[in-house]
């Protein structure tokens, strides 16, 4: 569950990092934007979760594309370096998060679902939010994988993230594809945000930032720039985080340290295999 959310967030981060050389610190807050946009749309459409989710996906994708026009494109034209992009992203993260705080308020919010309902699936107990999010996440992950593998747009994006100049020489419209990348990254962030909101039951605007480092860890696990790597990396990391608290495994770590497991995976991966599980060795 956590895994599929990390996977969807990870695809967005890995694309942006691989193609634009931008470590997108604001991506967590894009997820939070999705969560809250979903909350808004659900209310607008009379508590219809499906329409609300669709609205959140479109709104977040639109925001991501708009930000490309006003912020990232000017920075690209000035050939801004890694550091400039990173700091601009931090600035964006601060603005996004606190606009959400301002508009939605700091107290915990929740989607209109029954928080007490429990579904039993064999030995597994799911809350209503989890029961909704699980199939949606599974289908979306398969769909995303299929889109990247089969469609023309998916191939263009992968070509760009593989080798930007080679893709440009091969006649791929780089600027259009970058807009497409932002749209995909934003749409997935919107969906992941809604799902996280459902799974977490109640949330505040910090939920996005709390997911950021685990998402980074998923990206590193899969290898930067690799879409499938991020998908698999997210799933593995989510599973690892959940299993790490399981007592059968060496007593497990205390639940408080679940997040630290993600950080530790990130650091250990970078040290022993910085190219990721599926990445190629690259010289710089």
């Amino acid at each position: 569950m956590t895994g599929s959310i990390l996977a969807m967030g990870g695809v967005g981060v890995t694309l942006v990092l691989g193609v634009l050389r931008l470590l997108h610190v604001a991506h967590g807050d894009m997820l939070a934007f999705g969560t809250y946009a979903g909350l808004g749309f659900v209310a607008v459409f009379g508590n219809n979760l499906v329409l609300g989710t669709v609205g959140a996906i479109f709104a977040t994708a639109l925001l991501a594309v708009a930000l490309d026009y006003v912020l990232w494109r000017p920075l690209r034209q000035k050939q801004a370096g890694l550091v400039s992009l990173l700091l601009a992203s931090i600035g964006l993260a601060l603005v996004l998060r606190h606009v959400i705080f301002w508009v939605a308020g700091a107290p915990p919010r929740q989607y209109p679902i029954d928080l007490l309902a429990v579904f039993e699936l064999g030995p597994v107990r799911l809350s209503q939010g989890q029961a909704i999010a699980l199939p949606v996440a599974a289908i979306s992950i398969l769909l995303v994988g299929w889109l990247f593998a089969r469609t023309n747009a998916g191939k263009r994006i992968r070509a760009l993230s593989d080798d930007l100049s080679l893709a440009a020489v091969a006649g791929i419209d780089v600027n259009n594809t970058i807009v497409l990348i932002w749209a995909v990254s934003g749409a997935l962030a919107g969906l992941a945000g809604v799902l996280q909101g459902l799974v977490q039951n109640s949330f505040n605007p910090n939920l996005g930032f709390q997911l950021l480092l685990p998402i980074f860890a998923a990206v590193i696990l899969g290898g930067i720039g690799s879409v499938y790597g991020a998908l698999v990396g997210g799933l593995i990391l989510g599973l690892t985080m959940e299993l790490s608290t399981w007592e059968v495994l060496l007593g497990g770590v205390p639940p408080n340290y679940k997040q630290v497991v993600a950080f530790a995976v990130l650091i250990v991966m970078l040290i022993i295999r910085p190219q990721g599980l599926f990445g190629k060795v690259r010289l710089r």
């Binding site: 301002w102 408080n256 650091i267």
Partner: protein, 326 residues
């Protein structure tokens, strides 16, 4: 508008600026001169503050000895961080250091027996007894204040005295770093920043130089953590969120990378910006609740960061050529 003319308030702002100057100076050495993307700098502040407070409260060590040990403790932690990670590429280093600072913070939150947990140092001696670690410091400040009072009268508040001490230390630190970066050692650092391979070919141990820059910066971070702890008499893990590291980055970028005197400039501008939203108490801002004004402050800071990156990434005093373009 009353606070606008209140010397006590501005002394407090100046103390904050001084603490940020010391902290950011460490980052300036690491990034501005050595080109290291340290996004976990706040961890060293936490390590400094907690080491001192734990030694004083739990082991009864004298404040001064504890402070010295706290500064030195930053070095092994910087080795712990640096040895495995300094060979990494820039963006990877940024992620690892950020994760490192979050691990430090999580440990501070969860190891209640050691750190007092999420409630902070007030629980250092166990829940129920309010622990205090800085009595010796307050005594010294009070003595200094006593000396200043005949000269300055009412102006000589506690914060004012603290401000003088913090800034004296900050300026001293700047002079030391200034001396360091102009030495042969500093020239090697800059060479590494510009062209790592070339420096290596000339027989310089690139890795070791980076590690030294990281360690010295870490000690400055710990020093800032000490002053933070002294000033507030109490601190908690919430004081060491990644946001503080981002503030330090904003400060060195504002002032200009590889410009030591840019650091205090950036810190002062930042602190005024940070404190300044208090004065937005005229219409339409007077309609806002205090928490809304706090959000507005962060939104302004984020905006400044983005606008700065688009229009003047080298900062106020910086040179474009020295902005590391990796």
């Amino acid at each position: 508008m009353s606070a606008l003319f209140d010397a006590g308030f501005w002394s407090f702002v100046a103390v904050t600026a001084g603490v940020f100057t010391i902290m950011s100076l460490g980052l300036q050495l690491q990034f501005g001169y050595a080109g290291l993307l340290n996004f976990g700098h706040v961890a060293f502040m936490a390590i400094g503050g907690y080491t001192m407070a734990i030694l004083v409260v739990k082991l009864g060590v004298s404040l001064w000895l504890a402070a010295l040990i706290a500064l030195l403790a930053a070095v092994p932690f910087s080795l712990l961080l640096g040895l495995p990670t300094l060979r990494l590429r820039g963006d990877y280093l940024a992620m690892t250091t950020l994760a490192f600072s979050e691990i430090v913070r999580f440990v501070a939150v969860n190891e209640e027996g050691l750190t007092g947990g999420s409630q902070g140092t007030i629980n250092l001696a166990g829940v129920g007894t309010a622990a205090s670690y800085n009595q010796e410091w307050l005594d010294v400040i009070e003595t200094l204040r006593g000396w200043l009072e005949p000269l300055l009268g009412e102006l000589a508040s506690r914060d004012f005295t603290m401000m003088l001490v913090v800034w004296a230390v900050a300026i001293l630190a700047i002079l030391v770093i200034q001396h360091l970066v102009r030495s042969p050692w500093g020239r090697v650092l800059k060479a590494i920043r510009e062209e790592e391979d070339a420096a290596a070919v000339l027989g310089k141990n690139v890795f070791w130089y980076k590690q030294q820059a990281l360690a010295i910066g870490a000690v400055l971070g710990a020093l800032a953590g000490l002053f933070h702890a002294f000033q507030f008499s109490f601190f908690s893990p919430a004081d060491f969120v990644p946001l503080v590291t981002f503030f330090a980055w904003m400060i060195i970028i504002l002032g200009g990378t590889a410009r030591n005197w840019g650091v205090p400039l950036g810190a002062i501008i930042f602190s005024i910006l940070f404190a300044g939203t208090r004065f937005l108490d005229f219409a339409p801002f007077s309609l806002l609740e205090s928490d809304e004004r706090a959000y507005l402050r962060m939104i302004i800071i984020g905006m400044v960061l983005m606008v700065l990156m688009v229009f003047r990434p080298q900062g106020i005093l910086g040179k474009r050529e020295e902005m590391v373009l990796e």
